[in-house]
Chain length 223, copies 2
Amino acid sequence: MSKSIPISPPSPRATLKRAPDRGHYDRETVYAILDEGLVAHLGVVVDGAPRVIPFVYARIDDDLYLHGSTGNRVLRALRDGAPGCLTVTHIDGLVLARSAFHHSVNYRSVVAHGAGVEVTDPEERKRALDATVDQVANGRAKDVRPPNDEELRRTMVVRMSLAEASAKMRSGEPIEDPDDLGLPHWAGVLPMRQAFGEPTGDSLLQHDIDVPGYLVDYSRTEG
Amino acid sequence: MSKSIPISPPSPRATLKRAPDRGHYDRETVYAILDEGLVAHLGVVVDGAPRVIPFVYARIDDDLYLHGSTGNRVLRALRDGAPGCLTVTHIDGLVLARSAFHHSVNYRSVVAHGAGVEVTDPEERKRALDATVDQVANGRAKDVRPPNDEELRRTMVVRMSLAEASAKMRSGEPIEDPDDLGLPHWAGVLPMRQAFGEPTGDSLLQHDIDVPGYLVDYSRTEG
């Protein structure tokens, strides 16, 4: 981490109060977790109560981009100035200790706080939507019909800064109470990851169209 | 779904405004999504802004149970009456359409709105904590050292009703604009799931302790 560049000095709400030793504020860590992710959980207050909704997203430099229908209430609230909290979580393993109390999960997560800004510049909207398609499958944005005017009119793009983002993670073995080490219970880690199957062409696919290279041996953890 | 029992008539905020055809309010659907899940994203307003934090959880009948340190600010806010929103999401596949606009994700999610109640009854706390351990690995709660008095003193258990829960899901092929069907782009679904590796005993594990049956061929989608 010695070469890492902090995104910003942690703001009070981006500073971890629980398990502060698990907190990371450097760009590389935050970027890596976000770039491996597919879906973020965005929390915004609508009508006085929080709503937490999964969103596909894209990251460009220090900004996240969300998009949705122009009628999407959560995105509209974020755009209209309601503070947002966006969280991306990877679960890497189940941690089974000899005691119930020390059971845990190995994970990597990013929590970003901030307000949203609607993106109206056509070029920035295009970059954000292309990046979103490429976040799902890197290379796909050049291999689709781009959005037409009507589709663009129906789509809202909202930018959220990563200035108040922090990462948190746990890895490794269970922590054990020394008095428990002689107990007859198995203890260790069950590793866990996202796995992808074979791409399945749709029922209308023309026979001469091969599976594109970016879907062959698809993985989110390399490159 | 004809035999399904609605958890309750949908409340206004539990009623889907976007894509209402993807909404489900029946118990079986909500239970199945929650019981397959490991981590929920809980959103609660703290100091005027939402926070979205991943939590391990357990379901017993129509209640969810969360636990954490007695100092956990999000849980404390939920217990103190702040409205909460708890979301569990499974991603089942990437949906690649011939147009950027119709790209999507196959998913199943549950969103539950409600307030939290701190659980103080010792028996209910024990049931909730046992259910949480069993949510991670079914059978584990009987195969660990149970929490001692000091561990219980440091643990807050909060119950949240599923009365305002709803499920939403998408499955199947991309939706296509008929005009796009002749385009030379591959279209279809890349299936996705959680995969589990081999249980790895910790470095202090006694040699005569075998991997327990509940971790052999571990899966969250059966039984």
